[in-house]
Symmetry: C2
């Protein structure tokens, strides 16, 4: 995410109507771009919905910071933003990594566990306990985004993952970066997203300048681990992001002609209003613009792909990202930006898809785990 508060506060300040008034445009948009499978993305119960709206209403806001951007200088309300609130939910709000990982479910027989996590800088994440989690999780395949490494660190988990693939930013140092670590040998691999899959002849230029994609081919599926570009605080990269969405769509389509695909990673979009705590006021915030949501919808629809976590948890309000700013984790102000998106053909094989919502503290994201039959 960019400078998004997770609350839409900065936007709310600029456009109070987005918070104050009935956000008609927003409502329409949500309806217009609801996911392919209506059922999987239906709005939460009216009771819950009402409660959420209440939270977002300035008049009823528990803290002034709920509607005022705390970055505004000399705001006496900034302090209030730090006040502990009694949570109105049962989701974990820890900000340090767990000390024990007993809660991790045992891996089912004959299944492959694939985990995706945006580490927001692997060096820092490791200092804050990433390794302990990784070893406890014992995933078969690990997809990490935003490693922010200049060069691949091939010693990372080499003892458990014999196959390691790093995509690094060629331009900006310490920026972006994706890696996939695997216990299983891939049939083939590729770094980056081809930008011109439609052209003939062959020489396709990969969109891998920024280290955003690693593809591993396995017997029964392609795994595309992806870190989709952020649209930018002022949406200055929205156009590029839309191009990127097109390249990814074409690429996934081409792969899918061969076998099913698993598209995972930080896809940098909250698909519908239920995928972030504060949809109101964030309609022009990177990650929740109509453009980004529509592009995502288009990919799902055209390729008949399934947003797996939402498919399995149609009405749940859980997130994979909590901004470091404004105590968003403690307030459970989150976004669901990380996905396993799979070819419908794979649905039968899926055992589970879970947000590891206790595993916060090494990054501003939490891991997402898929278990699938082999």
């Amino acid at each position: 995410m960019d400078d998004v508060t997770g609350t839409g506060d900065s936007v709310a300040q600029a456009h109070p109507e987005l918070v104050d008034g009935a956000d008609a445009a927003q409502v329409e948009v949500s309806a217009a771009i609801s996911p392919a499978k209506k059922k999987t993305a239906k709005a939460p119960s009216s009771k819950k919905r009402a409660k959420k709206d209440q939270e977002t209403s300035p008049a009823d806001a528990k803290t002034a910071a709920d509607v005022i951007d705390p970055t505004a200088k000399d705001s006496t309300d900034v302090k209030d933003a730090e006040k502990p609130e009694k949570p109105d939910h049962n989701y974990p709000v820890n900000t340090a990594m767990p000390t024990s990982y007993d809660f991790l479910p045992p891996k089912a027989e004959k299944s492959v566990r694939i985990v995706s996590l945006n580490v927001a800088g692997i060096q820092a994440a490791r200092k804050k306990g990433l390794d302990t989690y990784i070893r406890a999780e014992s995933a078969d395949i690990l997809c990490l985004q935003e490693t922010k490494l200049q060069a691949q660190d091939d010693a990372v988990f080499a003892d458990v993952y014999p196959w390691r693939y790093w995509s690094l930013s060629k331009t900006k140092k310490g920026y972006s970066g994706t890696c996939v670590l695997s216990k299983l040998p891939p049939l083939s691999t590729r770094l980056g997203i081809p930008t011109t899959t439609t052209t003939t002849p062959a020489p396709t230029e990969d969109e891998d300048d920024e280290g955003r994609a690693v593809t591993l081919e396995f017997e029964s599926f392609y795994l595309v681990a992806n870190y989709v570009p952020n649209a930018g605080q002022k949406l200055e990269r929205l156009a590029h992001k839309r191009d990127y969405a097109g390249w990814v769509r074409e690429y996934l389509a081409s792969l899918q002609t061969t076998k099913p695909v698993i598209w995972t990673g930080d896809l940098n979009v909250a698909h519908t209003a239920v995928d972030l705590t504060r949809p109101k006021g964030n309609t022009r915030t990177a990650g929740f613009t109509v453009e980004e949501r529509e592009d995502f919808s288009t990919t799902l629809t055209q390729l008949d792909l399934v947003d797996l976590w939402r498919h399995l948890h149609p009405t749940e309000q859980d997130y994979t990202y909590y901004s470091y700013r404004f105590n968003c984790r403690a307030k459970h102000l989150g976004w669901r930006l990380d996905y396993f998106v799979v070819s419908r053909a794979l649905l039968d094989k899926v055992r589970s898809c879970e947000i590891r919502n206790k595993v916060y503290g090494c990054s501003d994201h939490v891991p997402l785990a898929l278990e699938i039959e082999v």
Copy 2:
């Protein structure tokens, strides 16, 4: 200081002869540029001296890091550098600020207490306890160097210091910066050092682009608070520093035609071999080059100024700076870079000049306190 280890280790690595062999050149230089008052800068007792040399000898070094630059990658000796050593001295080696300031002496009657401290970034220093010290010290005049502020923060200690003067770097943001806070109203003030005092007519351009000097005129003296440029890791700024030394010399001379001067601050030079723990191997290290030492000597000699702390503590081995690198504080590997240099006419009025050697932890320097009759 620059990248100086305080040990001369990096230099030693490049020029092992400086450590291994008898450093004849070094010895000659030391003799040649001993301070004006021979007595005040004589070498320590032979016993102590021998012990120090032993420390510096690679064969007898207690830790490999004593002679090997720990920044060299994959050095297995790096860890050894962290081993706690039994100190062979009674100087404080704390790395966090004191919790109590009971040890600060009460201020004498009819005296002015002036304190100089390189804060190495006033924002960070305040977070680490600067304020508590400042209030406990209760100096009449406070001279801070390396504030690293972009703009003056006029709220800083405004409750106790009605007169506040900030010299800021005009070029590089967050670089250098000097300020003087006073309980006493100055007769006149000036920011920067004039660069062309010898020329006529008037328009002297001040050397204040980098926020390195604040002068306050009082009834009985000029106070020049100064942060002298660092010569740079590769001595790339040595030439500029020598120019600067000339400007300061001329400026102090001009002031002294009117009344005595107190020149204080981080003068960024260890004058003689007794002014740093490891003179050997540091003869081409910024802060201890023959050029910097000679320039300093010249200023003292030509203007008949006295290095007050050394004058009052002729044989003491105490320092005002301990590099953050290589655990220099814990190992008491220091440099004396901060001074009160005063016109000889003021000597009679001086009550004390003390290094606040316990006050380490908010900066890599410790404060230096002068008490003088008014």
